[in-house]
């Protein structure tokens, strides 16, 4: 499996794979027939409302639920005492023992640690009544000191510091690198606290089917199979008696579909109260309780030679995790440092990541986790080195890029257990050239120079990056053809709105020779397939796509074998076109539709000769490798010196994806990601006052890009470096768009205001930009 696959064909040689065909999921979505969490209802359901802490850090003295319980329509009010036996929300993967005491309890246990911390749960006949009752729950607390900065260290509880772990990655002789440096460039950088904030808030519906003894969680997303495993552990049920169901998902971006306290509560309540329990989050709750992300403070320095080559890079950073360690453990810290050097060759490296707790909403992954952050740090550093040495910023980058000839390129870390990176394929300098040519860089620079001479504050920025995707280890799929000739693909994947079903249908259709639009793709259903990798870390296309590909090939062979026997023609002479098996190279000769073959292989059919009945197959795709797409982003930004408003005039992304399954959908991912990146760079921030009171609790304070904030995004998709690690050459496309946007906009603002290194903190809001202009050159 570690050896390479041959170069896969390009779209021109394919029927549907690689083509920009319309999505099969769209029709119900444009006609109002989607099934989002809020659209799931069961007869006699109860509605849950969570009572949340109004204090950032306090000891719970007493909780009085009497008035709430007395309200007509209220069925139950729970506090931690009612669910004392439930373990805290567990990690998805085995995690270090040291992290365990920092997990979040399902309901606050003795202390509240952030504004929004669930303290009690109200169950009522009606959602309005549940909300009324929640207001009647009286929580008496004794305030405790509030810790609002990750650079300060405090006490989590008796004897436990607010630093669950420190993560380290290094290679080479870092002391020697700095000792022989021609110059050392040092920066202090902050990435603000922001997150995915999907348009659909979270939702969970628990239902206990007593007739079958099955506990069901509806409204699942992202990783239903992995969450099922965790729930099975937490609730002590057998895997066959607990199932998760994903409907439509109103955006994921990494934060939706993680296992949260509310998911556990609706399940336990459905069991105990004997009625379905529905919970739909409101927007304020979402902004203070769903995973935050990004917030890191870096002190980074580089040792360079006179040509600007990176002899060494050293980074110490503080990751503001918020109040608890959630399902990912310290994953984002690890990904930040393993990917920090990105597309560059660095002589020696040392990174130290402080995983710190504060009294804020807990954090976890958001699209390109650790990479949006790390790319901001690395590319700010490259700009600073270029400025210090007086080298053109493009030329400096070019000098440091890993050359194509050195692929695959391995980055091995000294620390035991730190996973090595094997950059599987790519020609980074070639992509840079293509990106500059496509953007018409020289012309843009000339134009910017002319505008600046006329008094405008306008500038350009560039950032280069490597993404990771398709982490293994394995995923499976089942494909069957029914007697009507319709194809069903059952996967353990998940759809967060990215076009998963269409991508899987295209891969299946290509191999099987059927119409992709007639394929039904099942995802996010733990009752249909026992294992599933879900939709995280841009795995879906690579891993589940790999599994669908293997399965479709297997089914094709099976169909051709049956057809060969039925048509008395050697299988090698047959092809499948539009669901009909016929002779290659023409319409002449006998043919049979796949649906008719399915009829002929029903149980007991003579044709079978002892083979298993049914026109179906099941197969797996295994890999022990991650694949690494890569890209370049460029921007033109204008600054209004009076208001401090930065306007992104143009954005471009060049992205090598190996092979694209559907260029239209890939472009959609890259454009959408880019605009989310603009949000994190200029607008979005979860701010708090000094008492830990969150200040961004509505869409009027948490500003996401509107159409007027979204510049046109120009996309250049290249397929120069198909991954040798999977048969279709695929790399993930979900996360690239956002990766370097923070870095690129920061560079362009520096350039626009003529102050190299001015931007050290995201988002660059108007007040901050005004302050940079007031301070002038550093």
């Amino acid at each position: 499996m570690s050896h390479g696959y041959p170069t896969p064909p390009r779209a021109e040689e394919r029927r549907v794979l690689g083509h920009p065909v319309p999505r099969i999921e769209d029709r119900p979505l444009v006609t109002g027939h989607g099934l989002y969490a809020g659209d799931v209802s069961f007869p006699h359901q109860l509605h849950m409302r969570i009572v949340r802490s109004a204090h950032a850090h306090a000891r719970i003295v007493a909780i009085d639920t009497a008035a709430a319980r007395a309200l007509p329509g209220v069925v139950a009010v729970w506090t931690v005492d009612d669910i004392a036996e439930l373990p805290p929300i567990d990690f998805r993967d085995p995690s270090a023992e040291a992290l365990k005491p920092y997990r979040q309890p399902v309901l606050a246990r003795g202390r509240v640690r952030y504004v929004g911390d669930p303290v009690a749960a109200v169950f009522a006949e009606d959602p309005y009544v549940a909300e009324d009752a929640a207001d009647l729950v009286d929580i008496e607390v004794a305030p405790l000191p509030v810790l609002m900065g990750a650079q300060e260290l405090g006490e989590f509880d008796d004897g436990r510091a607010t630093e669950p772990t420190i993560v380290r990655h290094s290679f080479g002789d870092i002391e020697a690198a700095f000792a022989k440096a021609h110059a050392v460039v040092e920066l202090d950088l902050t990435i603000g606290r922001h997150s995915g904030v999907p348009m659909e808030t979270r939702g969970a519906i628990g239902r206990y089917d007593a007739a079958r003894d099955v506990l069901e969680l509806h409204g699942a997303a992202k990783v239903p199979h992995r969450n099922k495993d965790t729930l099975v552990r937490m609730l002590g049920r057998s895997p066959h008696s607990l199932h998760l169901f994903e409907g439509h998902t109103g955006g994921g971006f990494g934060i939706r579909g993680e296992l949260y306290p509310e998911d556990v509560l609706v399940l336990v309540a459905a069991l105990r109260l004997g009625r379905p329990v529905k919970w739909i989050e409101d927007r304020r709750e979402h902004l203070i309780s769903a995973n935050h992300s990004r917030h890191q403070h870096h002190r980074v320095r580089a040792a360079v030679d006179p040509q600007g080559r990176l002899l060494g890079m050293e980074d110490e950073f503080f990751h503001d995790q918020g109040a608890y360690v959630r399902t990912h453990g310290a994953r984002v810290v690890g990904r930040t440092m393993s990917m920090l050097t990105g597309p560059y060759k660095v002589g020696a490296y040392r990174a130290v990541g402080h995983f710190r707790l504060t009294n804020k909403t807990p954090a976890a992954t958001y699209r390109a986790p650790g990479r949006y952050e790390g790319t901001f740090v690395r590319e700010r550093l490259m700009d600073a080195i270029a400025a210090r040495l007086g080298i053109d910023r493009i030329e400096l980058r070019r000098r440091n890029l890993i050359p194509g000839a050195e692929m695959p390129f391995t980055v091995e870390f000294d620390e035991p257990g730190a996973e090595e990176l094997v950059l599987d394929s790519g020609d980074y300098p070639a992509l840079l050239d293509k990106a500059l040519a496509h953007f018409k860089w020289d012309q843009v620079l000339a134009d910017v120079t002319r505008r600046r001479a006329a008094g405008e504050a306008v500038g350009t920025g560039i950032g280069l990056f490597v993404e990771e995707s398709g982490r293994g280890p394995a995923d499976g799929a089942k494909i069957s053809v029914d007697t009507d000739g319709a194809v069903e693909v059952v996967t353990g994947g998940a759809s967060v709105g990215q076009g998963f079903a269409t991508a899987m249908a295209q891969i299946c259709a290509e191999q099987l020779g059927v119409d992709y639009s007639r394929i039904r793709v099942v995802h996010g259903r733990t009752d249909r397939i026992a294992f599933g990798i879900g939709a995280h870390a841009a795995r879906a296309t690579v891993m589940t796509g790999g599994a669908v590909n293997e399965t479709a090939i297997k089914l094709r062979q099976k169909a051709l074998q049956f057809a060969s026997e039925l048509l008395q023609t050697p299988a090698e002479m047959l092809d499948i076109v539009d669901g009909v098996v016929r002779r290659k190279g023409g319409d002449a000769g006998p043919s049979i539709a796949l649906g008719d073959i399915a009829k002929r292989v029903a149980p007991g059919a003579e044709l079978l000769h002892g083979r298993e009945p049914g026109l179906s197959a099941e197969a797996w795709f295994h890999t022990d490798h991650t694949v690494f797409p890569y890209g370049a982003q460029l921007a033109v930004v204008r600054v209004d010196r009076d208001t401090g408003q930065a306007t992104v005039e143009r954005l471009m992304i060049a992205y090598d994806v190996g092979r694209a399954v559907n260029p239209m959908m890939l472009e959609g991912q890259l454009v959408g990601g880019s605009i989310q990146g603009v949000g994190g760079a200029l607008l979005e921030e979860f701010t708090y006052d000094q008492n830990g009171e969150p200040l961004a609790v509505t869409f009027a304070d948490y500003l996401m890009p509107s159409l007027r904030d979204a510049p046109p995004v120009d996309v250049l998709i290249t397929e120069d470096a198909p991954s040798p690690r999977n048969p279709l050459g695929l790399k993930g496309g979900g996360e690239g768009g956002i990766n370097a946007v923070g870095a690129v906009i920061a560079g362009a603002i520096d350039d626009a205001i003529g102050i190299p290194g001015a931007v050290t903190r995201l988002p660059v809001t108007p007040p901050r930009l005004k302050e940079l202009l007031r301070r002038g050159a550093p």
């Binding site: 319309p22 769209d26 029709r27 444009v30 006609t31």
Partner: protein
Amino acid sequence: MTEKRDITLNINGRDHAIRVEARKTLVDAIRDDCGQTGTHIGCEHGVCGACTVILDDVAVRACLMFAVQAQGKRIRTVEGLAEGDRLHPLQSAFIKHHGLQCGFCTPGFLMLAVNTLERQPDIGDEELLDVLSSNLCRCTGYQNIITAVRAAADDMRRAGAAG
């Protein structure tokens, strides 16, 4: 507070006789009492526009008004756009131009755009962008939404001229 009133909501030409509290929002009544779940709730404070419906020829945010206020008015929701199997030009354009990903904001954008193009078929591009900037989308980066609405506007103008 919990006293209920009998009202009738006319949605896409059909009457729904329902019994709701005066405080119930229009969007909750459309979804929970009338079963039309195509209209979505994104923020409940009138910013995102996911709940946009057309009320007597005006696009409104159904989270910002009470169901009782919509009594006697004609409500149009996304479920009423297609005629049988025939999609509205805007629905087709959203599919063709990949104007949706997760689809959660889509009904709101469709109703906003339908209302705008019905009222001002010859709306200028700048004004169109201003109107569309009143709803939020988190997936698409808006580019394809704009393309889809412009394309549908052309289609609708052509159809109007032909008709």
